[in-house]
């Protein structure tokens, strides 16, 4: 992507972006993208550690980690409550909250941790959400979740929603089931990858100071995208439930 002399600079090393190169692992005949899995495990470890520290010794009056994690829980259950309403939100807090925390962790892990210091033979470590496979998996999970929500609440009557308000709208309603995961996954993938490419292009032009605001914007956009993904997931589930 750049002239050769850029690669030798230590400044630009931290912000290189390689698109379409992967660190393949062969697991039971499947080729998987190893660089994504490594960072995903790292995010799992971080989130689990936070959850463990927050619930290690639970007290009546929260202090320290417990206090912090209760704030986080309040935040994610507010996301669910705003979309799903007071009466249904409790059973969907785990799903929506997990989506939020995982995507948030992935985006921030990619934006903050200097992964480029670790050399891989091919590909590079970065935010797991800049791989389209991760975001498509999350979006399909959301699709399954809202089908499950609708079917478990209304049984087969759920499919009546496809011919409402008019039977004429049936094709559009069916199309919507495909566009929902498509737009969810593309939005997250595009935003995260766009941030990384912008930072790396700017770093290639001016290695010092100038890319900093864009990096901060990347951190901010990462958290907003996590919020949007979980809000939309909750909204789709609410739509199936109503």
């Amino acid at each position: 992507m750049y002239p050769d002399n850029f690669y030798s600079s230590t400044f630009t090393l931290l912000a290189e972006t390689e698109v379409g190169k992967h660190f393949y692992w062969n697991i039971a005949g499947f080729l998987v993208h190893g660089q994504v899995l490594i960072v995903i495990w790292f995010v799992f470890a971080i989130v689990l550690t936070f959850a463990f520290l927050g619930s290690r010794n639970v007290e009546q009056i929260p202090r320290g980690w417990q206090n912090f994690m209760e704030c986080v829980l309040d935040f994610v259950s507010d996301i669910a409550k705003n979309q799903l309403g007071e009466s249904f939100y409790r059973e969907w807090v785990p799903f929506v909250g997990t989506l939020f925390l995982f995507i948030f962790g992935c985006n921030w892990a990619g934006a903050i941790v200097p992964w480029k210091l670790i050399e891989l033979s091919e590909g590079e470590l970065s935010a797991p959400t800049n791989d389209i496979n991760t975001t498509v998996a999350l979006a399909l999970l959301t699709s399954l979740a809202y089908f499950y929500a609708g079917l478990s609440k209304k049984g087969l009557g759920y499919f009546k929603r496809y011919i409402q308000p008019l039977p004429l709208l049936l094709p559009i309603n069916i199309l919507e089931d495909f566009t929902k995961p498509l737009s969810l996954s593309f939005r997250l993938f595009g935003n995260v990858l766009a941030d990384e490419i912008t930072v790396s292009v700017l770093t290639g032009l001016v290695p010092l100071v100038i890319p900093l605001p864009i990096m901060c914007l990347g951190i901010f956009a990462g958290s907003v995208q996590a919020l949007i993904f979980s809000t939309l997931a909750a909204a789709y589930i609410a739509e199936a439930l109503e």
Partner: protein
């Protein structure tokens, strides 16, 4: 890659982003302007307005991002490169 295909892909990638940025640009400008108006009229509602504004800006941004995804596919994973 065939040179005519690579040239067409690069032009198409530029157009994909540029055209996709027009609509959301207008929309985001409108939304931000209305939000400022709302805050000027009711400064105590600023926090709520800011939250809704950011969320809706991100939705509009997604439209440009779709263009970006198309451009990235054309540049890095071109299906016609053969």
């Amino acid at each position: 890659m065939d040179s005519i295909i690579s040239a067409a892909s690069v032009v198409a990638a530029g157009l994909a982003i540029g055209l996709a940025a027009i609509g959301p640009g207008i929309g985001q400008g409108n939304a931000a302007g209305q939000a400022v108006e709302g805050i000027a009229r009711q400064p105590e509602a600023e926090n709520k307005i800011r939250g809704v504004l950011l969320l809706s800006l991100a939705f509009m941004e997604a439209l440009t991002i779709y263009g970006l995804v198309v451009a990235l596919v054309l540049l890095f994973a071109n299906p016609f490169a053969g």
